[in-house]
């Protein structure tokens, strides 16, 4: 089966996020009452897998091995 994985990689909570902070400031300048903004990276990966669990397992391994840096990142995976 072919699956599409949507991976979101984000700095851990409390980690300095200068890009997010800059975006928040700019939105405030535009007049929006924005409490916070966080930047994240989104990756879309197509892959062959036996089932959803198999696909999730593979993508989770990809995240641990390369796509995210466990020292500074959290990640989430949505499989479709």
């Amino acid at each position: 089966m072919r699956y599409c994985a949507e991976i979101t990689i984000q700095l851990k909570q409390g980690m300095l996020d200068p890009e997010g902070e800059t975006i928040q400031r700019a939105l405030t300048h535009l007049g929006y009452a924005v409490k916070s903004a966080h930047a994240a990276k989104r990756l879309l990966i197509e892959l062959e897998a036996d089932d959803t669990d198999d696909a999730t397992g593979m993508v989770d391994e990809m995240c641990r091995k390369m796509l995210a840096n466990p020292v500074i990142h959290n990640y989430s995976i949505v499989i479709r």
Partner: protein, 230 residues
């Protein structure tokens, strides 16, 4: 005595390091493409640059290339390995050094001279310095903001793995002297055995007095001396 300067697509400080080792120190150093072998070399330099266009994260892709397995083996055998700037990012991403390099606190490319305090002279790269000595070298990076969690920092401090800190001209770890927001003003660290060094400042750009400082040269001289002792 033979050193390898590893070239990835996007490395751009390779020739500078090659020049320092061959022309200033008079040792033999080769530029080695990442698909070639580093077997038989006595030490490795991973130079600065923008390997793989900094895609994904700075150093992330280069850290997963097969040559890094050879670098790990060489390091495990006690040979000196130094990663400068992008090379530091690669070593951290590859797990040869603890921590991670984040985007600078002020998220712009930062290119300036900095003062560094030498914290540990008992490494393969710092035997030519005095402990507490202040040296000058330039930084040039956007992702040099070193991070490690509290437990890792405590561990690194207790094992004297922090080798260089950003300081003011008087040697104080002031915030204004920290160019990128690194925790504890950390500019360079070693592994537990002291034979793998990662640092954001560029010693190869401070190896001749005509460039404004030759403090960096002593890092390469120390490395050669260490390698010669085998």
């Amino acid at each position: 005595m033979k050193f390898a300067v590893i070239r990835f697509g996007g490395s751009n400080c390779d020739s500078d390091v090659h020049h320092v080792l061959n022309d200033l120190l008079g040792v033999s150093a080769d530029l080695v493409w990442y698909k070639d072998s580093i077997e038989g070399y006595d030490g490795v330099v991973i130079p600065g640059g923008f390997s793989y266009g900094d895609y994904l994260r700075a150093g992330a892709i280069a850290a997963r290339t097969p040559i890094m397995n050879s670098v790990k083996r060489l390091a495990d055998n006690g040979k000196p390995v130094i990663g400068i700037c992008n090379g530091f990012q690669i070593l951290a991403e590859a797990g040869l050094l603890p921590g991670a390099l984040r985007t600078n606190e002020y998220p712009k490319f930062c290119c300036k001279w900095v003062n560094l305090r030498v914290e540990n002279t008992d490494t393969a790269f710092t035997s030519g310095f005095k402990e507490g000595e202040i040296v000058r070298m330039p930084v040039a990076h956007k992702e040099g903001n070193f991070f490690a969690d509290d437990a890792a920092l405590q561990d690194m401090n207790s094992r004297h793995q922090i080798v260089f800190r950003y300081v003011d001209p008087d040697g104080n770890t002031a915030d204004y002297a920290n160019p990128n927001g690194s925790v504890e003003n950390i500019a360079g660290i070693v592994n537990g055995s002291g034979n793998v060094l990662g640092m954001m400042p560029h010693p190869e750009r401070a190896s001749e007095s005509i460039l404004g400082s030759d403090d960096g040269r002593r890092i390469f001289e120390s490395m050669v001396e260490y390698a010669e002792q085998g």
